[in-house]
């Protein structure tokens, strides 16, 4: 049998009994193939003649190769489009942000003054606010998410698993404005009337970080509500990776005499660490860019929070609040676009670092299949 020169389409036809395969690869791209296939079959001896076979092979080969090429080209276009899209977003942002980048340089990052009236712009307060909200959200979400994932994978009765898992996945799909509204009608009064006074009267007596005027709105409420939005994200990915832990590993742990809790803690959790880290990175991205819910709850005040009860401002909510106005002044809009660019860079860096970390922790196996930052 001749060594296949081309690709799979070629090998398929050169092997076996010299008949075209029942379903040619990509036959949907080659509508006239059935005609070509019929003519040799109608030869009187029942066996196709050598010349007919040759011509058949040639035509089908060229047709398949052509369709293969078209398909590859389409795929390549898709890939190139993503690259182009990314380059366009980045390029337009940099060009539009240039007046601000040029004027303020690196000091834009740590300058705490943002005063459109005096044409002074600095990102510091918004960066700090963004990290506060993201930090509170993750601190709140990660333990709850991991606990619920463990419960669902190992402890929950079967009849409960399906329902709870579906609910969790549905939670992840609820629009953020709904969570924002929930925050205003439920979380803000709860914080204002109960949690914040209680915090101020206990921890607040010793640490200023927990005291303050109970206002309800602020980084705490915003962080908690974003945390609620992050929980399903982290929990579903963690649960999925817990389920994927090989049965043999679990049984080996039992065989060595572990209790169930020991098995979960010493075997399962370390095994799914990469999955958890990947899901946390996903959650970080979600919390970082969350706009509407934060805008409704954070109190939108450009000052660096010194207490967990303080109000603050995030990059995304500033853009949502003032960008339509910023277009009136080129430097103002440039500064806001530069803020957007910073968000973009942060999420790029975090995603890349997360991916590297995942690769390292997994020692090369399964890379990208779990969580995938």
């Amino acid at each position: 049998m001749a060594v296949p020169e081309h690709d799979q389409g070629d090998t398929l036809l050169s092997h076996g009994d010299h008949r075209p395969p029942a379903v040619a690869p990509l036959s949907f791209l080659v509508p006239d193939m059935s005609d070509a296939a019929e003519s040799p079959a109608s030869s009187p001896s029942g066996l196709p003649s050598e010349s007919a076979l040759k011509s058949l092979r040639r035509t089908t080969h060229t047709q398949i190769l052509r369709s293969e090429r078209i398909f590859q080209l389409a795929l390549r276009l898709g890939g190139v489009f993503i690259l182009l899209l990314f380059a366009t977003v980045l390029g337009v942002s940099v060009v539009e942000a240039w007046p601000s980048i040029e004027k303020f340089g690196w000091s834009f990052l740590w300058n705490p003054t943002w005063n459109p009236h005096r044409h002074i712009f600095g990102a510091w307060t918004y960066l700090v606010g963004t990290f506060w909200v993201t930090g509170i959200a993750l601190l709140f979400a990660i333990p709850i998410a991991i606990l619920s994932a463990l419960f669902l994978s190992d402890y929950a009765p079967k009849w409960l698993v399906g329902g709870v898992s579906t609910l969790m996945e549905m939670l992840a799909g609820i629009p953020s404005i709904v969570f924002g509204a929930f925050g205003i009608i439920f979380v803000v009064p709860l914080m204002r009337d109960h949690v914040e006074p209680a915090l101020a009267n206990t921890l607040g007596r010793h640490f200023d970080f927990f005291s303050g005027d109970a206002m309800g709105y602020g980084i705490l409420s915003a962080g908690l509500v974003v945390g609620i939005m992050v929980i399903p994200l982290v929990a579903t990915v963690t649960r999925d990776s817990l389920i994927m832990v090989p049965r043999e590993t679990v049984e080996a742990a039992y065989a060595l005499g572990s209790t169930k809790a020991e098995m979960v803690y010493f075997v399962k959790l370390p095994a799914v660490m990469p999955g958890i880290i990947g899901s946390v990175i996903l959650g970080f991205g979600r919390a970082l860019g969350e706009t509407m819910a934060v805008l409704l709850l954070i109190g939108n005040q450009a000052s660096v929070p010194t207490s967990i009860q303080d109000v603050g401002y995030t990059i995304s909510s500033l853009l949502a609040n003032t960008f339509t106005y910023a277009v009136i002044d080129p430097l103002f809009s440039a500064a806001e676009i530069e803020l957007g660019l910073i968000l973009l860079v942060i999420s790029l860096v975090v995603n890349t670092l997360g991916r590297e970390l995942l690769l390292k922790l997994m020692g090369g196996r399964l890379a990208g299949s779990v969580g995938g930052g």
């Binding site: 003054t113 459109p116 009236h117 009064p189 939108n300 609040n321």
Partner: protein
């Protein structure tokens, strides 16, 4: 209902207008976009005007004053609606724009003081208000507030400053009053649609400000006349140029407007703040004109339609069934024909309009 339209309409139409505005070129096709405050008035106007002037199509959208000004200048829309006048900076950036006053509005100070009975008359002056908004006065029983209101017993509770988070004309008018009355505010913060607030917490839209003030004990905030009427809010009486404490209402805003229209030093395009400038016992010191920004480089036929619309809006359109009902005070242009004539025939280029005949 009006407030539902205000917010819902704003959100829904914000995207639409960009599309509607860009393609417009036909003769009797006018697109108005900008100030979210003016939006409800523009809605009732456009409906009434299209009914009485078949063949004219007006599309209205609420996109924010900043959008209105910049897009009226570059020709994307026919008329840009704005709560703020054209400051020197803006005038320099958009030299083709002229401003036409179309209604009166104001900004009033609302509050939520624990233990204070509803209907208590509170008085405040600019410097005190500025110190509250700069975080210098932190408690309601501060001596400055007690001195202004000797009959009121204030609780010792923290003042929670509430302001707008989005760029807003209401904020511009409010900070205008603070800038005119407090030197410190003027130097450190100034007036702006979106200033750098030293303290407080910000909310998106006047509805959110009202909600935040109502739900936060100790809060102070500011909104326009429409919201005061809609929610029956108590507002503070502000000290005016002659030392009188005046509460904002259709009557006191109109008193301010009349004083401005009769003041010969007031420019014909009204491109000047009327905050803290006007004398009179009843003059509310924090009232403002709402403006339509029109580019003088509009094509002749469009300009003709725009002039007709402006003439109608400034005369018949000022009826209280349009203005007062949507939270504005009417402009008294009918008895002020010379002013109206100047706007239509001198400020705006093109064929003259006979202001004696109906629109």
């Amino acid at each position: 209902m009006k407030f539902v339209t205000r917010t819902a309409g704003a959100a829904a139409l914000a995207g639409l207008v960009a599309l509607a505005g860009i393609g417009q070129a036909q003769a009797a096709d006018i697109s108005i976009s900008g100030s979210s405050m003016l939006f409800p008035l523009e809605q009732v106007w456009s409906q009434a005007y299209m009914k009485s002037h078949p063949g004219t199509h007006i599309s209205v959208a609420s996109t924010g004053s900043g959008f209105g000004i910049s897009n009226a200048a570059n020709g994307n829309i026919t008329i840009g609606a704005s709560d703020a006048y054209l400051t020197r900076d803006l005038k320099k950036r958009y030299p083709s724009l002229v401003s036409i006053p179309v209604a009166f509005e104001d900004t009033q100070v609302i509050y939520n003081i624990p233990g204070l009975s509803k209907g208590t008359a509170l008085r405040i002056d600019g410097p005190t208000l500025a110190r509250i908004y700069m975080g210098k006065i932190r408690f309601w029983n501060d001596k400055a507030l007690r001195a202004l209101n000797p009959d009121v017993t204030f609780p010792h509770s923290r003042i929670k400053v509430i302001h707008r988070a989005d760029a807003s004309g209401t904020t511009f008018v409010f900070t205008d009053y603070l800038s005119q009355t407090s030197k410190k505010w003027n130097e450190e913060i100034g007036r702006d649609l979106s200033p750098a607030w030293p303290v407080g917490s910000g909310y998106n839209g006047s509805d959110a400000v009202v909600a935040a003030v109502m739900s936060t004990p100790g809060a102070i905030g500011y909104v326009g006349l429409g919201w005061i009427n809609e929610y029956h809010l108590d507002s503070m009486a502000l000290k005016n140029l002659d030392g009188y404490f005046v509460k904002g209402s259709v009557k006191t805003i109109q008193a301010a407007g009349k004083a401005a229209l009769h003041d010969p030093t007031f420019p014909d395009d009204f491109n000047q703040s009327m905050v803290w400038k006007l004398h009179g016992k009843d003059v509310y010191p924090d009232a403002n004109f709402e403006f339509w920004m029109v580019s003088t480089s509009l094509p002749g036929s469009t300009m003709k339609d725009v002039k007709k619309l402006i003439f109608w809006a400034l005369t018949k359109g000022q009826a209280s069934k349009y203005t007062v009902k949507t939270g504005f005070a009417p402009l008294p242009f009918t008895p002020l024909k010379p002013r109206l004539n100047k706007i239509l025939n001198h400020i705006l280029p093109g064929n003259s309009v006979n202001i004696e005949s109906g629109g």
